[in-house]
Symmetry: C2
Subunit: 406 residues, 2 copies
Amino acid sequence: MAHVNANFLKLASGYLFPEVARRTRAWQQKNPSFKLLRLGIGNTTEAITPHICEAMHHKVDLLSDRRTYTGYGDEQGDQDLREALCDFYQREYGVRLSVSDFFISDGAKSDAANIQELFSPSSVVAITDPAYPVYVDSNVAGGKSGAYNGVGYDGLLYLPARKEMGFVPEPPKEHADLIYLCSPNNPTGSVATKEDLKAFVDYAIRHRAIIIFDAAYADYIREPRLPHSIYEIEGAERCAIEINSFSKNAGFTGIRLGWSIVPGSLETEDGEAGLLNRLWNRRQSTFFNGASNIAQAGGLAALSLKGRAECRMLVDYYLENARIIKEGLEKIGLVCYGGVNSPYVWAECPNQMRSWDFFDLLLERAHVVVTPGSGFGKEGEGYVRLSSYGHREDITEAVEAIKGAL
Amino acid sequence: MAHVNANFLKLASGYLFPEVARRTRAWQQKNPSFKLLRLGIGNTTEAITPHICEAMHHKVDLLSDRRTYTGYGDEQGDQDLREALCDFYQREYGVRLSVSDFFISDGAKSDAANIQELFSPSSVVAITDPAYPVYVDSNVAGGKSGAYNGVGYDGLLYLPARKEMGFVPEPPKEHADLIYLCSPNNPTGSVATKEDLKAFVDYAIRHRAIIIFDAAYADYIREPRLPHSIYEIEGAERCAIEINSFSKNAGFTGIRLGWSIVPGSLETEDGEAGLLNRLWNRRQSTFFNGASNIAQAGGLAALSLKGRAECRMLVDYYLENARIIKEGLEKIGLVCYGGVNSPYVWAECPNQMRSWDFFDLLLERAHVVVTPGSGFGKEGEGYVRLSSYGHREDITEAVEAIKGAL
């Protein structure tokens, strides 16, 4: 009698983005002649840049010749890519790490979901509210929460990120073992300062907790005073894991490539130094067989000086989109946050509307898809997230459509 | 105080293949002038075929143009690839499945490791001995075993696959909830008949158990009487999940692409029909973001008639290698199994030697790397696995080297 994993049954509802897709599809089927403008999911739209494409073509050519063909790579990722990342952190952020601290993956989502497996189910898990749903859902599926109580899960510690706090959470008053942070933030577009992160690092060292720092949008930061990596904060190498990706700066959303940093210097209550690094290595060697070698060739090109210059232009493009969205909505009196150093604009729903109601209104009247803030957590209620991932002409059209509809 | 997941600490030793790599590296460092011949890991060596390369080049071109660029795909995989797989099962195996039964992944290893997450930790898990180590290790990490007892893990049910049984296990006498089978088998090269699988399907239906059927080597079967898919057995759609991959027939070991079939018709003790299909869908939507779109374009080409013809030639090449290995070793009196309908030759160690001793002997005297059978489980002791993945000239040289050394 095979019984299913009861933790999966706790998951309250469908994952947010498939639900947005479902409602959108239903509307489109009823209104097949209307053009839909998508500012919902954070899905890149601009082409992969020339230097990166060239590298991937070259890799396919190498694979097509038995003299240069390669099969399985290392589960941890190609050595040259790990070295290039290590150099990148030193060069761009002034952060010193070891090559063995880096693990290449098929993307930040997988790592963000899988990393909780390293920790005891009895861990107290603190998660920013609102947040990328994968942090909560993976911990529920991983047995680190109680049941769904109508607004959230028993046993999880939600760290509110409210307007009056600039949408950056504060360390909890209570004890936590694991803390999820994301900066630049998805969904609110807020960016933590060094002081904000310092407070969390101090907390983590005091509580011997581990911070999971999601830096997938780091390349959107344009102000030098803001930290791109948590390892810019002293002490973070003792208490923080960082997750990042090529999705949002190089357009690899579909190509799939990311990395995690699990420093050998991390401290836990169990065993000697380096334990978490070794366990993640074991986890990846057992549950994963490396990222696609073609994607890794592209990632290596993205980290070259030429690749970095191309990716900067790509990010500039989306940042300009974000500016257009934010300024457009502000012109018609909507209160907006984020959209600077971030691809996401976080807009207050007008007239005290609820998130899904404003979602439906924008879909019906403006034919624009956004993401309801409440899908990211209780504290997201009353907001929607607008994504700057889109062709310029579609972004402009969407902003005009919203202006006309409200 | 972050505590680690104690289940990970149970894992007795390094994963087998990294350990083989470590010993090999150490030997190579001591003997830098010798050429090493690798028949160890099942790592493909021949080029990706023209039709598949063309499709991947084309996909890179599409990604390099903003008009044809695509970002995130569906977590379940591209619809056209799922449809092509569904057609493939109908066309080649006469098996009728639904498109929604198919889930594209980054390879069979990930799926084989992750699938246990769907099931309760209290599940009794039965695993063939010897077996691909991922089945055991993932269940240990997933909390479905007790401690390591020196030969295996408490709580796991090992199904011996011995010489006198043709290396095909029999259904257990005891009750099991989950049963792992692999045919053509890694490591023994044995292939289950329809009658063998029928006994397991009957057992599973009787015990309401779920079979995890790893068919990653199905394309190596050349005898029409042997089943390629467990769904060729009546009733399997009620009790079996099948896992497969493009690694061993199309050379995608480094490109990364596989699939799982979790039929909507599967039965469990909990809830309505379709539950496992929905839970796997939820699991993949939360922990995964789809396989690389370039790999999926290659996979689609591999399933076309042209692609299938190319892949057949690729598999023929490795099958001929297997024949050369087997016949060469038999000429010097080694007792060999497998190597027909399978890329693996399973050789008895001579003179009652133990697996790692014979591994060391072949490394020292013949400079040939094999895989020690004991690394696949207690019942593998006294055997080594020879892999047919290699250039023909290296395979021939390795066989001659072994002949000269013994």
